[in-house]
Symmetry: C3
Subunit: 314 residues, 3 copies
């Protein structure tokens, strides 16, 4: 299972920013291409007051700050240059997390989708939409929000595909700002299947691909959960991707690059389950030779050796 996509972590939410400029990003896209990445997904176009492009709407409506760089433009230019597909991640006002009311996300993104398509829709690499709300079972209002947002996206332009990346409510599903690494109450495989069957039924037609985050369950649980995920995706006509997290959830430092062996276990479980595509969160902090975390460069080398082995085996 080869990683062919990565998130772009703008706006950085819980991973400290690397402060790269255009030169570093250009070089990073080259590093991505070198290992076969062809898809980049903007994790979110904004979070609360920080935004990735100078949106008149968001600055007026939510008091967002004028960004020093138009990241959307920069990433689209680089995606064009390197022949990548770019997925645009929607805006997250933060209001849902504070109030439990999802309607603000729907309203805000109606405008954002219009604005973005008008400003950037002509880029050749603009190939999809990422519904950026990270949900799990029990995220109130998520089904309706995803259906509505997904349809809003698909009505724009040329019916581009939509992607979601939910998390499995496993034992490592704890807050990044918590000092805990694990929790006691976790979802069973049966509950997971029942609940996501309902969720997928609710969003079918509005969501084209689902990339479950792979880091919240233990490594030996991957196979059974992945099998269920693939069956459900097949049932509702969605592509089943894996979001192979390249950071390590098992360590007190939240977060540094993952041990290669763990990434390998996760990718092999996805291959075994017949997944359609692997993307990662995310290349630039956790797998890039120019990451501020030098472990990432070594992970890049280990991963390249692994790719060579795969090729040789064939």
């Amino acid at each position: 299972m080869k990683i062919t996509g990565t998130f772009l972590d703008e706006i950085s939410h819980d991973i400290p920013h690397q402060n790269w400029g255009r030169k570093e990003w250009d070089k990073d896209f080259a590093h991505m291409k070198a290992i076969g990445i062809d898809t980049v997904i903007l994790i979110r176009s904004g979070y609360r007051r920080f935004i990735t492009y100078p949106s008149d709407y968001l600055m007026n409506k939510f008091g967002c700050y004028t960004p020093p760089v138009d990241w959307v433009e920069l990433f689209l230019q680089l995606a064009d240059k390197y022949g990548f597909s770019f997925y645009f991640g929607l805006y997250d006002s933060g209001i849902y997390w504070d109030t439990g009311d999802m309607s603000h996300e729907i309203d805000a993104n109606r405008y954002v989708i219009d604005e973005v398509w008008e400003k950037y829709g002509y880029y050749k690499s603009f190939k999809g939409w990422y519904l950026s709300m990270e949900i799990s079972r029990g995220t109130k209002g998520a089904v309706e929000a995803f259906r509505t947002l997904g349809m809003q996206c698909k009505e724009k332009g040329t019916n581009l595909p939509t992607l979601i990346s939910p998390w499995i409510d496993g034992k490592k599903a704890v807050l990044a700002a918590s000092s805990q690494l694990k929790k006691e109450e976790v979802v069973s495989l049966t509950e997971h299947e029942k609940e996501w069957d309902e969720i997928f039924d609710g969003v079918k037609g509005a969501v084209d691909a689902v990339a479950f985050q792979d880091g919240h369950i233990d490594y030996h649980e991957l196979e059974s959960f992945f099998t269920v995920n693939k069956q459900l995706a097949d049932k509702y006509g969605m592509e089943c991707w894996t979001n192979a997290e390249s950071f390590d959830r098992d360590m007190p430092i939240k977060f540094l690059p993952i041990k290669f062996e763990k990434l390998k276990l996760k990718l092999e479980a996805a291959a075994k389950a017949g997944y359609d595509k692997a993307i990662t969160f995310e290349f630039s902090h956790f797998m890039s030779p120019q990451s501020a975390y030098l472990q990432a460069g070594h992970l890049f080398n280990r991963y390249k050796e692994y790719l060579n082995q795969l090729t040789t085996l064939k």
Copy 2:
């Protein structure tokens, strides 16, 4: 608003030490000078048993360890070499934090000030005193301590200026060793104004400049708090500096370099409020091209580009 000063984080209190020797520090002063820094402030000359210079008094009185390097001498030599002003940060016995009794800090520093002035007062770059107790409203005994310590400093030598750097009791005012990023009970702007009016009234004449830490409130709150701070400083004849924190308080890793956009927002708010000077905590970990945190080198580059833009705009 250009950053023209930085703290020197010896004794490192909650930021892991970089283990630099003279060579690295010399190079770092050169990097500082390259972006216009002209002032270095020793964050504290000692904390509990760790001290920055071989103080007979502190070793005898508090059982402090003999430091492997005389950092005060080293920094003064480099400050002389690069034409910087050096502020000496007072000793913190830790007793106040354990007992709530400020008298030990006053007593200990009476001797420290004598000792230090005698040993190092002749350095050309010895240009001020930093009253190193980090306080906020409700720090019991702080007003009297600052008045007493400030006057003790000013009576030495040639009446050198004194500096304090308190924190605003905002939502990010949580302990570094806590896993939390925010707290619920925060000071209102009105309370802040009322309480600091009293504090400034109490320390006037003993404190020449106040550099509020800028990281404990949200970015959109900066303008109103900064305006109040400047008005209060003006009222009591103090210079109003900003302590622009170059580390990121919003991330689970405590602490790595700040995202440039955030630093820019804070500097611009200080400029808007008419602040007199910007210093940072601190250059060597969070903005230096040779920092162990490679994000810092990129922040250095982004900041330099910003300085160039400012110059071009003029």
Copy 3:
């Protein structure tokens, strides 16, 4: 007190992995040799499902994952190449930590010892066994486990020496995954002496060397605890080593390299107490010039300068 040994942190338990391959490890052994290291100790051969060598027994019995690299073989080859002594660290099933029942560790390691000695016992550098359970007073069943495991090791081959590395139940004995740095209830020197006298009495003959971790007590407490440790080791005919932790327990980031001054205080306390040998946890993350933590390279330089000073003083 010169550091002449280091742990090898495979399996990484709470320190993020560096993802090194053979090339980096070879270079690291050269760096170790350059400062006088002659002993490497595998911290554990496995923890729960992750293992360092392809153990048929552990894969069948505990469902362990096939490791992508045979680390035991790699480390033994490098130890042979550089003329080091290699200590093999036993397997930790994790069951004790979950259930308080130590019998699984004893049973599992009976097989591991057989398997490992058969596979790797012929390596010239295979010179000892490390009983990898990190215990302190009150670790239920530890005395019997250490006695049994130690004897099992010593019965293999040529009666190779056995090593343990317990921790002192001091104020910094808190969980890595906790956000706390200190705790309130700590062991007194008298309790420490009484309890370890009993533990040593129970394991005598089965354990040849004890290397107390030096990071759980305050620096000014080192001398008295170290003196007691040495007296007890002498009484029971064990060698007394110090496990000089080269990471900093006093910082919110868990963990980065230690400030050199602190390491120096700890090594000097061990020298003063007449300790037999100093090892560190561990060179490759916290003292190596090629560590992902660049502070480690500076610590390496400071430590080398210190070694030169020691030589000059003689």
